[in-house]
């Protein structure tokens, strides 16, 4: 190595030693905050996933043992069977209009009259808290589950305290990693 090259290297080394060498402490604080939020969110997601898994197992058992439908009540409500998980594109962000879904045929003593068919009304899809911490959804799966009405609070929807323990149907969007990202509620 020539003298000039050596001197240039020395100068570069000296340059490397000047100026700040580390990121300010603020950066560590911000990152630590984000890390904690993600851990908290993972805990919540694990609980939701547990509930979803339970719902899926229950649905599977119901199908396996072909539980006969309840006899129609006087108001003749129709129960829609839970659809199997289906692959779908990322959810439409806004779907204000009530979504009407033609019910599947149910086994009843008498076929339901048109007046007995209750159309489904769905809310928009709401992002679950801290869902943005996870990788963007590239391959979403939507599954239909039942949740306690109190779960609506999770996305900031009002809940009637008297009905908080009742169940409500929900479509949950799962990312490719199996982590829930969004939910909508269906009536």
């Amino acid at each position: 190595m020539s003298r000039n090259e050596q001197e240039l290297k020395d100068a570069l080394r000296a340059l490397a030693a000047t100026g700040p060498q580390e990121a300010p402490a603020d950066v560590e604080r911000v990152l630590l905050d984000a890390f904690r939020r993600k851990q908290r969110s993972r805990g919540r997601v694990a609980r939701i996933c547990g509930a979803l898994a339970g719902a899926a197992v229950a649905a599977g058992l119901a199908l396996m043992f072909r539980i006969p439908p309840q006899p129609p009540k006087p108001e003749a409500r129709v129960t829609l069977p839970s659809p199997p998980p289906v692959a779908a594109a990322a959810p439409e962000p806004i779907a204000l209009a009530p979504k009407k879904v033609a019910p599947r045929q149910v086994r009843t003593a008498r076929p339901p009259t048109p007046s007995a068919i209750v159309p489904e009304v769905a809310t928009n899809f709401y992002s679950l808290p801290d869902a943005d911490i996870f990788a963007p959804v590239e391959d979403a799966t939507v599954i239909r589950v039942q949740l306690p009405r109190s779960a609506m609070r999770m996305v900031g929807l009002p809940v009637n305290e008297e009905r908080a323990a009742e169940r409500i149907r929900a479509d949950v969007v799962l990312g490719q990693d199996g982590i829930a990202r969004a939910v909508r509620f269906v009536q």
Binding site: R3, N4, E5, E7, L8, K9, D10, A11, L12, R13, A14, L15, A16, T18, G19, P20, Q21, E22, A23, P24, D26, V27, E28, V30, L31, L32, A34, F35, R36, K38, Q39, R42, I133, F134, A135
Partner: protein, 195 residues
């Protein structure tokens, strides 16, 4: 990177994925310096360096599984991420209307030829810093990685995704360019340290 450091990073990463906050802090403290310095020397801006450092580790928090240990060390992976973010930040900066003319190290050096001989060492380092920033990006990054951050050729090749031979030849050319700029700048043959 020494094997022990790599092993320690791998272990910390595993614990971090499991939610261990202390492991994340240790991992951050182990690698933030090299990420920050790389971004600083590449961009010449403390703000960009801070932002890039934050984004690199945020990405690690979001999805640590993206890192594949078979493709290189964690340090190389993090600096590689920083490299992409620095280029993106510099592109964005270039798109913004400039309120004042950009510093041009070569012009600065040429304009100051007569007084360069009297510059204090700190001023000479400032000229060198600007000369580094004025290098084309592919030469600048090898100078930053190998000479400023003292990364070995193999690891630098891992960061840049090229062959070790490419690193050698780029480094040779980059040093020659720098020496030329410095010679032109101070009218002397070399960048001599003060006695």
């Amino acid at each position: 990177m020494p094997e022990s450091a790599s092993d320690s990073s791998g272990d910390l990463l595993r614990r971090m994925r499991g939610g261990d906050e202390q492991a994340f802090v240790a991992l951050y403290r182990e690698h933030q310096g090299s990420v920050f310095r790389f971004a600083l020397h590449m961009s010449g801006s403390v703000d960009v360096a801070e932002e890039v450092t934050q984004e690199v580790f945020m990405a690690l928090i979001r999805d640590a599984k993206q890192y594949d240990p078979n493709r290189g060390s964690l340090a190389a992976y993090l600096v590689g991420m920083a490299r992409k973010m620095v280029f993106r930040a510099l592109e964005l900066k270039a798109d913004l209307p400039q309120t004042e003319p950009e510093d041009d190290a070569v012009d600065l050096i040429a304009d100051n030829q007569d007084i360069a001989a009297d510059l204090a060492w700190s001023e000479r380092l400032e000229i060198l810093r600007k000369a580094v920033l004025s290098l084309p990006p592919n030469y600048r990054e090898v100078i930053v990685l190998c000479d400023l951050d003292e990364m070995d050729y193999a690891e630098a090749a891992g960061v840049l995704g090229c062959a070790v031979g490419t690193i050698r030849s780029r480094l040779h050319r980059a040093r020659a360019l720098l020496a030329e700029k410095m010679r032109a700048g101070d009218g002397r043959e070399s960048t001599r340290c003060p006695a």
